[in-house]
């Protein structure tokens, strides 16, 4: 359990953020640049001291202004992966990795060889940081933080300085830390793609405050997400499993509440845990069972909410069994169809994007 509540005035910027998240979880702090994400992480790390607040991990208080508790950063036993890696230039990779390990208090749960194997660092051990590529640097920085035996790993936009190919070099390792090591992580990002792929929980930051926080699937339905990430990004996120793979059509069926959604089967097998995103703009609302349409994905459900997104558009939330999907319709259509809360409808899904897939232990259920 991670509890964070911080208040600080930084110039004329007021940081006033509070959230709690279960552990182990990958909690993404998502928001625009300057929304206060990094300040929150730095406060958790102990690198900045908030004026007021309370920070605790699994009940152990790291900071509490009311009780005058402020554990020094070097004693907090957290790992920190910075955007710019911050490897020590005068030490080779092996000694960079060992820096935190030598100073770790308590037992060694995470062994040197294990981390080197996980991150594929063996060929780099004798090299100096300046000869490494951006992706290699971040992998070393990640390994160094892990070897400090952290109870929580803090990552401040660790992929922001990398191009797409280098990102892909690091992302799978983060997924393994989440799924196989069950390491709690607090992950700062302003890239929705990363959040959709990695996060189990999301804290949406807006101008120094928490707009909303919760499991990814819940936050994905929150109106604030559209405001912060753009209306094109609004849509339901569904964590589920593949039920059937049809080699003939090349499609895989994924259970989704009252029905199933079909996605391209590339590499999927029955039982694969997948995370799907259904964008609001890709969902059509029908008041009668669909007939004679090319759309194959139809989920029966009920209207639970109709939000005014703009003067001309409405966001319709449809409860389709255990999942909720969002549909964007024009205000004209909403009126002509007579959409009201509780009304039975069909959500016709034109497109589904596969955000993550994992075999075995799978995408953590939000």
């Amino acid at each position: 359990m991670l509890e964070v509540s911080v208040r600080s005035r930084l110039g004329d910027f007021l940081l006033d953020a509070a959230f709690a998240a279960p552990a182990p979880a990958l909690v993404a702090l998502f928001g625009a640049s300057g929304s206060g994400k990094s300040s929150v992480v730095n406060a958790v790390a102990g690198l900045i001291r908030p004026e007021a607040g309370h920070i605790a991990i699994d009940g152990e208080v790291l900071f509490d202004s009311a009780h005058d508790i402020d554990v020094p950063a070097e004693q907090r036993r957290l790992g920190y992966v910075f955007q710019d890696a911050r490897l020590f230039p005068h030490l080779d990779v092996r000694r960079n990795l060992g820096y935190g390990l030598r100073r770790s208090r308590g037992g060694v749960r995470i062994a040197f060889d294990e981390v080197v194997a996980l991150l594929g660092l063996a060929p780099l051990l004798a090299r100096r940081p300046r000869g490494l590529s951006g992706g290699e640097r971040q992998r070393v920085a990640l390994g160094r933080a892990l070897l400090a035996q952290p109870r929580l790993l803090l990552l401040d936009e660790p992929l922001a300085a990398l191009d797409a190919a280098r990102r892909e070099e690091v992302l799978p390792y983060l997924e393994r830390l989440r799924d196989e090591w069950h390491l709690p992580m607090l992950y700062v990002s302003h890239q929705l793609d990363e959040v959709l792929r990695l996060a189990t929980h999301v804290v949406l930051m807006d101008q120094g405050r928490v707009a909303t926080a919760g499991a990814l699937a819940e936050v994905a339905l929150h109106p604030a997400l559209g405001r912060l990430a753009g209306e094109a990004a609004v849509g339901a996120v569904i964590d589920s499993v593949v039920t059937v793979v049809d080699a003939g059509t090349g499609l895989a069926n994924v259970a989704a509440g009252s029905g199933e959604l079909r996605v391209p089967a590339d590499g999927l097998v029955p039982g694969t845990a997948v995370r799907l995103q259904v964008l609001a703009r890709d969902v059509i609302v029908a008041t009668r069972p669909p007939d004679g349409l090319s759309v194959r994905n139809a989920l029966p459900g009920r209207v639970t909410a109709i939000d005014v997104e703009s003067p001309y558009s409405r966001l319709v939330a449809i409860d389709a069994g255990s999942v909720t999907v969002l549909a964007r319709v024009t205000s004209l259509a909403a009126a002509e169809l007579g959409l009201v809360q509780g009304m039975p409808v069909w959500a016709l899904v034109k497109a589904v994007s596969l955000r993550a897939a994992a075999h075995g232990s799978g995408v953590p259920q939000a």
Partner: protein, 224 residues
């Protein structure tokens, strides 16, 4: 006379560098990272020997460290140390004069160290002293070496403060520049003076080139 002066100069300069180096590191750190009232004043004070007439510095040392001076009397009473007219005094005078050069070089290297590295060390469990020893100090090394060599070369050539504070005693305080001055005052001393001047020139140039090479070498080793 030349070799005696050279040996003495080297002895005085090395002692001067050796004793002032830890203090210079501490002062450079305070001036770069310290947040305290009076930092500007300390900065100015440290740089004072660069702008004061060396004779004035020597005079000030005489007042403070002379046998009747507040510090000099105490040192003599407590430890039997006498600085005036002694080799140790010559080292003190050259140390004071070359101190700003040393602090400057160390400070420049310290300013180039990304404080983010120290933060990273912090999150990895290193306390303040540990961070300084394992991260800051090794990264300051180019500046420390450059500062030490520059200060050493400057110490070899210090004249005004030395002659004022510890006088011109052959074999005790007559360093290269003092010997050069003495030779010039003697009839027929031109040949000796020329040799001493050439020696000083070679030492100074050698020192500065060595400092640059050393710094380059260490920079290459440490990387950007």
């Amino acid at each position: 006379m030349e070799w005696q002066a050279l040996g003495l100069s080297l002895a005085v300069a090395s002692r001067s560098v050796l004793f002032s180096l830890p203090l210079a590191i501490a002062v450079a750190w305070l001036l770069t990272r310290g947040r305290f009232a009076g930092r500007a004043l300390l900065d100015a004070f440290v740089h004072l020997p660069l702008v004061l007439p060396p004779v004035a510095v020597g005079y000030l040392l005489l007042v403070l460290f002379g046998n009747r001076g507040p510090i000099g009397a105490w040192l003599f009473g407590q430890f039997g140390i006498q600085l005036v007219f002694s080799r140790a005094g010559a080292a003190l005078a050259t140390a004071v004069m070359s101190f700003p050069l040393m602090v400057r070089a160390i400070r420049i290297s310290l300013e180039h160290i990304d404080p983010g590295l120290e933060q990273a060390a912090r999150t990895l469990g290193a306390g303040p002293f540990d961070r300084f020893r394992s991260i800051t100090l090794p990264l300051m090394l180019p500046g420390i070496l450059a500062g030490a060599v520059t200060a050493f070369a400057a110490s070899l050539g210090e004249f005004g403060a030395v002659i004022t504070f510890v006088s011109n005693i052959p074999g005790e305080t007559r360093t290269l520049p003092l010997a050069l001055y003495t030779a010039l005052q003697m009839p027929g001393g031109e040949a000796v003076a020329a040799r001493l001047a050439a020696l000083s020139f070679a030492l100074g140039l050698g020192g500065l080139v060595a400092a640059e090479l050393l710094a380059r070498r260490v920079r290459a080793l440490l990387g950007p």
